[in-house]
Amino acid sequence: MSGAGQPLAVLVAKSGRTPTNLPAPPTAIERDMLASWKSGWLYWAGLIVAIALTVLGGWSYSVMLRVGVGITGLNSPVMWGSFITTFVFFIGVSHSGTLVSAILYFARSPLRASIGRSAEAMTVIAIMTGGLYPIIHLGHPWLFFWFLPMPNQRHLWLNFRSPLAWDVFAITSYVTISALFLYMGMLPDLALLARRVAGWRRVLYRVLSLGFAGTEREWSVYERAYPIFAGIAIPLAVSVHSVVSWDFAMGITPGWHSTIFAPYFVAGAIFSGIAMAIILLAGMRKGFKLQAHIRKEHFSMLGRLLVAMSLVMTMVYATEFFMAFYRGGATERDIFVWRISGPYAPIFWGVVLCNSIIPLLCFSPRVRHNLAAMVTIAVIVTVGMWFERFIFVVTSLAHSFNPAAWRGYRPTWMELFICLGGFGWFSTLFLLFVKIFPSVSVAETVQGQMEVAAPDDPEEAPHAG
């Protein structure tokens, strides 16, 4: 390196002569990214398990296609079960990636450089996973095109007054914007790393980087466009889960017909998304040796967010019960009593334990700085959130207005395998993503390192001592 204040080199480049000492050797962050692609046994073991789950789910689904939806436990009156639960769960997981990343961007948080990329990838992959389940739930997936607004031989159009139609538009918009947001954030990194890699990855990076060169005018364009994108992503993320909640809340079914459902879903989505992010980041940190970039204090910050959202969720649960009892509707009150005392009560109380009590451990700094403890809590919250979705989807249908139609629901093994297949599919795509693309933002890491190392605004210099 040069001395302080000196340039590294001044080169006179005449026509046709290329400076010979370029490019420079890889820097620490680049080396870490390059090393992360040389995966160890942990990565391959995870990938094999994920693919195995995907195959299991795919096989079970193929059985369902051949035999029919009779192999599931779905029957009147519980026509929405584990598939819709898994759909809501994954849309929830998708929620916090783009949302948190965009908020961290506006807050100029250094946390974003480390966790933003994988959180955004988690969003895109979770929507791609969650979006499969309404189609699986149809039983006749080849009729999915009925959801699309297109002229057809039925001389019917999509019913735009249906929340299910809103879902199609909301989720399609969200996945498009989230994918573009992820891609846009990767552009500078792809351009930088294209010079460091060889083979197919080099070709892929060069094509995907769209020729980005990092000139001051390009950065100016980029810095102008990115906040617009982040500003679009935040309300869109909130709207998507609100729309998913209206799939339920627009019906008059007791337990669903509530104005609190949209914020309830949004809060739950952020909660489950943070838990999933902790699990994925811990896996990346361990599997790819990214300890220098994904640090324990990052988990501590996520732990604080987790406990904050857990308190919000507890408040929402309490509000639901308060409203059911206070407004005096007999059916509404009955369904909530049934939830806490009927055949699904063990699941309900398990959800309370997982989502409202165990996350309180994150109040302790010792727990937040203990990676194993954080991952354990995150897994518990993830399980708790799936069952929380299960409870409100199933119990309201099983115990509605007409006592003569009350009937329980229990998912069959085939259904559970199809749901597990979703987790496998999600994990497979995520593992492939972090294998192929830089999982930590190189440009933002470099910016943080260089501008903290040499702050050029004296007011922003860290205080000595």
């Binding site: 538009f169 440009a443 910016q447």
Partner: protein, 167 residues
């Protein structure tokens, strides 16, 4: 490729100082390429067409909103079927799809505009200079075509004069 002086810096502040020193010699067209959007980028660059990006996004939003509204209104009127007791033109229900398509239009247009403007913005920087950017170095490019040997020498001095060549 044009004749130019390419200077590599590890420190954004030093690169900015070098740019100011070169500009003080009356040299125009100095360019900077960097691995990240350092603050220096905003200090040396006056906003160009990118100031219109917000307007592009707004245009996309208007198109998205209009498309969403037209799709719902036209098809509902073409097939006036009452479902769920809702009016054929159910404005509260239509607002949701209008909102989603507004956001989609704004985002997609913003991205497309960014890609086009960025492609235009990188014109005038040689391939060699672009390739010299790395995650630990900024590149200052000074065009010297048609300048005298003395002028080039002065530019090199202003840049730091560390003739040849590090790592």
């Amino acid at each position: 490729m044009r004749d130019e002086v390419i200077a590599l810096f590890a420190d954004p502040g030093r690169a900015e100082q070098a740019i100011h020193d070169v500009q003080a010699l009356g040299v125009d067209g100095v360019r900077l390429a960097s691995p990240a959007p350092f603050r220096v980028v905003h200090r040396i660059h006056r906003l160009g067409p990118e100031r219109l990006l917000g307007w592009f996004a707004l245009g996309g939003a208007v198109v998205g909103f209009t498309a969403g509204l037209a799709l719902q209104v036209v098809t509902s009127l073409a097939h006036p079927m009452i479902t769920g007791g809702k009016a054929v033109l159910a404005w509260p229900a239509f607002a949701i799809i209008c909102f989603e398509l507004t956001m989609l239009g704004a985002g997609a247009t913003n991205f497309a505009a960014m890609a086009v403007l960025a492609a235009l913005a990188r014109r005038g920087v040689s391939r060699e200079a672009k390739q010299a950017v790395a995650s630990d170095r900024l590149v200052v490019v000074v065009p010297i075509h048609g300048r005298s040997v003395e002028a080039v020498h002065a530019i090199k001095q202003a840049l730091g004069n560390a003739e040849e060549m590090v790592p």
